[in-house]
């Protein structure tokens, strides 16, 4: 294969993957539109004062959630990176768990800690202070920060891990005090992760539904996603649902575009949290501060998990564990998760191969052309991220309509669930695998080209060894996302297609809260085990000196 052919192949694969994703999402919209038979009433919606209020609230809570999560993630990432403590490995895995948690489980866990009769309120009441009033914007923000601050912190520690070893050595030798170290080494690295973290968290919070309703204290706290659900679920009004979904996507894109102009390209990734070797010891004060930040942040993040654990242990776990329904649901969940994660990974790698090829510096081109190609690549990143704000219920309903005539609906259901989950995990995979792939490409491109390595040989010998660890992390994360997902399943339930979250909600829905708590614990443990396994199993062997 020639180099030109390799380039063609990569661009074609990436293009095909993008086409599949956009076709999958766009096809759903088109089908729903066709059934509705009328144009989406965009103009009418725009002039509805109630909806304008909903839009305002949606953007307000998402912006505040994103800013708070990221603001909290900065000191946490720093403290995590500076401090070694036992259990750090496990803590970093747990940081990805909130994303994999069924939202209702997370919401109830937060209530256990922060609610009127929660632990914090009990402590306050014992000291004569008033109990907390969780419900309203504060509750929504606390929940969103719980779900997203750990994610943002991992994006940032990843950047700190990329600081060259020499910088830490130099800093130690120059005796940089903590403030100078922050200004000269840490902040410049962290700063790079902030646009990515803000935009990711923003998108995740825009579509918040259950959390906003449960903790919002009343229907005044309503997001567009709630309206979309209502439009499609209760009113079965596809044109309205589509108009609302388009508004949600458009508004998010606009906000992201603005932040892009202000803050730079939203590229950022995770790493495995390999401990960078640092030599600074900090001062007594700085160590105290870091310790305090760590203690507070870990209390904040781990306390809802502790609530889930304690609640779960109260359940009759033995009975649950031997229940054949649980075994079947776990297998179905794992199968769906595996399939979704694999599909997502294939899509992500195809897209990334193409975008790294587009970003690859070439000296021959004029800078204008270069800039256009970079812009194209960044636009691709944003577009991929926007997948997060496409309501799964719209996608599911659209494809259901499209395929009902040509295939068995019970057979379609698992396929649609897998496809929807795969597409929803795509932005995370791009974040996780993208940066290391780009770095590998920068390092090895010239060598690979000089050796005439192309196609799969190149993939296998050049890219794969460098990205296998992030691929493992991404794969586990995508699986966990899919394991905890109910959104796509709810629409397609069938007698033989029962997943773990479905089982959990089923029990919640018929007074069996204790069983549900046990299931939540089991689900959480499976996700954690997956993360640990994937990260351990695919970690690159340490190069020996």
């Amino acid at each position: 294969m020639t180099e030109a052919a390799d380039r063609q192949m990569r661009l074609a694969a990436g293009g095909l993957a993008l086409l599949l994703v956009t076709g999958f999402l766009g096809g759903a919209f088109a089908t729903l539109l066709g059934v509705g038979g009328e144009a989406p009433p965009l103009r009418a919606l725009a002039s509805d004062p109630y909806l304008r209020g909903v839009v305002g609230f949606t953007l307000l809570q998402a912006s505040l959630s994103a800013l708070l999560s990221v603001a909290g993630a900065v000191p946490l990432a720093l403290a995590l990176h500076r401090t070694r403590f036992p259990g750090r490995f496990l803590v970093l895995r747990i940081f990805l768990l909130p994303q994999a948690l069924p939202v209702l489980v997370g919401a109830l866990a937060i209530v256990t800690v922060w609610g009127r009769n929660g632990i914090v309120s009990d402590i306050l009441a014992a000291t004569g202070l008033p109990r907390l009033d969780l419900y309203g914007l504060p509750g929504i923000l606390i929940a969103h920060v719980f779900f997203n601050l750990p994610l943002a912190a991992r994006l940032m520690t990843a950047r700190l891990d990329e600081v060259p070893a020499e910088s830490w050595k130099l800093a130690a030798q120059l005796g940089l005090p903590p403030l100078s170290l922050f200004r000269i080494v840490e902040w410049p690295a962290l700063r790079l992760a902030i646009p990515a973290a803000v935009s990711l968290v923003f998108m995740l919070c825009v579509t918040s539904f259950t959390l906003v309703l449960v903790l919002g204290g009343g229907p005044g706290a309503t997001t567009l996603e709630v309206e979309i659900y209502q439009a499609l679920h209760f009113d079965f009004d596809p044109p309205r649902a589509i108009a609302l979904a388009l508004a949600q996507i458009g508004l998010t894109a606009a906000v992201l575009a603005i932040s892009l102009m202000l803050g730079g390209a939203p590229t950022g990734g995770f790493t495995l949290g390999a401990q960078a070797r640092r030599y600074d010891r900090g001062t007594g004060l700085s160590r105290l501060l870091d310790g305090g930040v760590l203690l507070l942040a870990l209390l904040f993040i781990l306390s809802p998990f502790a609530a889930i654990l304690i609640d779960g242990l109260r359940a009759d776990l033995m009975r649950l564990a031997v229940d054949p329904v649980l075994g079947r649901a776990a297998l179905t969940s794992l199968a769906v998760g595996l399939a979704a994660a694999t599909l997502s990974l294939v899509l992500a790698l195809s897209i990334l191969m193409a975008t790294t090829r587009l970003r690859r510096p070439s000296s021959r081109r004029r800078s204008a052309a270069k800039r256009i190609r970079r812009l194209l690549a960044s636009a691709g990143d944003i577009a991929a991220g926007l997948v997060l704000v496409v309501p799964p219920i719209v996608v599911g309903a659209g494809w259901f309509l499209a395929l009902r005539g040509v295939a068995d609906v019970f057979a379609i259901a698992p396929l649609l669930v897998v496809a929807t989950n795969a597409v929803m995990a795509l932005p995370f995979l791009l974040h996780i695998v993208g940066p290391p792939l780009a770095a590998a490409d920068r390092r090895n491109d010239r060598l690979a080209r000089s050796l005439g390595l192309t196609g799969f040989a190149r993939l296998r010998h050049v890219e794969w060894p460098e990205i296998r660890s992030p691929v493992g992390l991404g794969f586990a994360f995508a699986m966990a996302l899919s394991l905890g997902d109910l959104g796509a399943i709810a629409l397609f339930g069938s007698q033989d297609f029962i997943t773990l979250p479905f089982l959990l909600y089923e029990r919640m829905g018929s007074y069996r809260t204790r069983d549900a708590a046990g299931l939540a614990l089991i689900l959480g443990l499976i996700c954690l085990a997956l993360m640990v396994l994937a990260e351990r199993g695919l970690r690159r062997p340490e190069p020996s000196r």
Partner: protein
């Protein structure tokens, strides 16, 4: 290079996931497919017992498909259209009947409704009620010493004693409360909602979230059903949770089943609907679906049911009126509560 085993594993997983539904067919017996809500299907729900009993006499294979709730069932029908596999739908509330009829998917039941013992009676050529329940506010006797005795009590009660309700836009009991308030207060409903909103801790998207908050002890009063305490008395042996009896009466929620035009086995579908009204089937309902039987049962109800709130005045609004006004009333509710 470990990608190959990874892919093989994933493909095997996908195959497994897809193989599940394919194993459904069982011999050459006719299959009767029933769409219902998800809590009907599990081993503790009515589904398995109804299935065993009906299959013993029908020579058929009864299959339940559990969906989120009544609204989801109807949506699923709309999505599937003529290609639906459902022969019977079980689990719509009467509020949904006009909308269900408007789809034109349903055939006359051909079922004799004489056995019905539903308060106020029920007559409809298409749908067959199989159980009913009354909305009620369930409270925790350990924290609520003076439970409200009327809707008025509830509305005017201590704002610091919080209640959790469900959203009228996204849930059946939420819409039910809206109708309850409407049927008691008429045009004054929005003012009463404003008063009530002082007591509302939060408005959840569905019953599960609200009831979860309640059993967690986060909120002492929750919108549920008069039959909810029966579950706690029978399954958990506790009388801690009780429903408050309201002097104005309680809103009646009737669950119905119907058969589809497109049913592959219309006669079998009719037979199933009729079966749901037999004492044998009605026996199953109270302690599995935690609702009240729509017709005579073979054996008397468990003792716990005699301790439940006896509703003297069932309240309801004609489904056609509900269908016409739902949007406007929901908007009114949003404005009153959303402040």
């Amino acid at each position: 290079m470990r990608i190959a085993p990874l892919v093989r594993f994933a493909l095997a997983g996908a195959a497994l996931a897809l193989a599940g539904p394919a194993t459904a067919a069982e011999g050459s017996k006719p299959v009767l497919t029933v769409y219902t809500y998800e809590s009907f299907v599990p081993e503790w729900g009515p589904g398995p017992k109804i299935e065993t009993a009906f299959e013993a006499e029908c020579g058929c294979d009864l299959q339940f498909v559990g969906l989120e709730d009544g609204v989801a069932i109807l949506n699923r029908l709309k999505l599937e259209g003529a290609s639906t596999k459902a022969d019977v739908v079980l689990g719509l509330t009467t509020d949904l009947v006009p909308e269900a009829k408007a789809t034109g998917f349903f055939a006359d039941s051909g079922v004799d409704l004489k056995p019905l013992t539903i308060p106020g009676g029920y007559a409809d050529p298409v749908f067959v009620p199989y159980d009913y329940s009354y909305l009620a506010f369930v409270y925790d006797t350990e924290t609520v010493k003076n439970p409200p005795r009327s809707l008025d009590d509830l509305v005017e009660g201590d704002p610091n004693e919080k209640i959790a309700i469900e959203d009228a836009r996204t849930s059946t009991p939420g819409l039910g409360l809206l109708l309850w308030m409407k049927s008691v207060y008429g045009d004054e409903a929005d003012e009463k909602w404003e008063r009530l909103s002082r007591r509302i801790l939060t408005v959840t998207p569905g019953w599960s979230e609200a009831y979860g908050l309640f059993t967690k002890g986060e909120v002492p009063i929750v919108l549920s059903y008069t039959t909810s305490p029966a579950y706690h008395m029978i399954e958990e042996k506790t009388e801690r949770y009780q429903a408050a009896a309201f002097t104005e009466g309680h809103y009646l929620q009737i669950e119905v089943a119907g058969r589809l035009n497109s049913a592959d086995h219309p006669a079998l579908a009719q037979r199933f609907l009729q079966f749901m009204l037999t004492p044998q089937a009605q026996d199953v309902i109270p302690t599995t679906n935690w609702s009240l039987p729509a017709a005579r049962t073979a054996s008397s109800l468990p003792e716990a049911f005699s301790k439940l709130v006896k509703v003297e005045t069932p309240l309801s609004i004609d489904p056609e009126t509900v269908a016409r006004n739902r949007r406007a009333w929901t908007q009114e509710w949003l404005t009153a509560v959303g402040k």
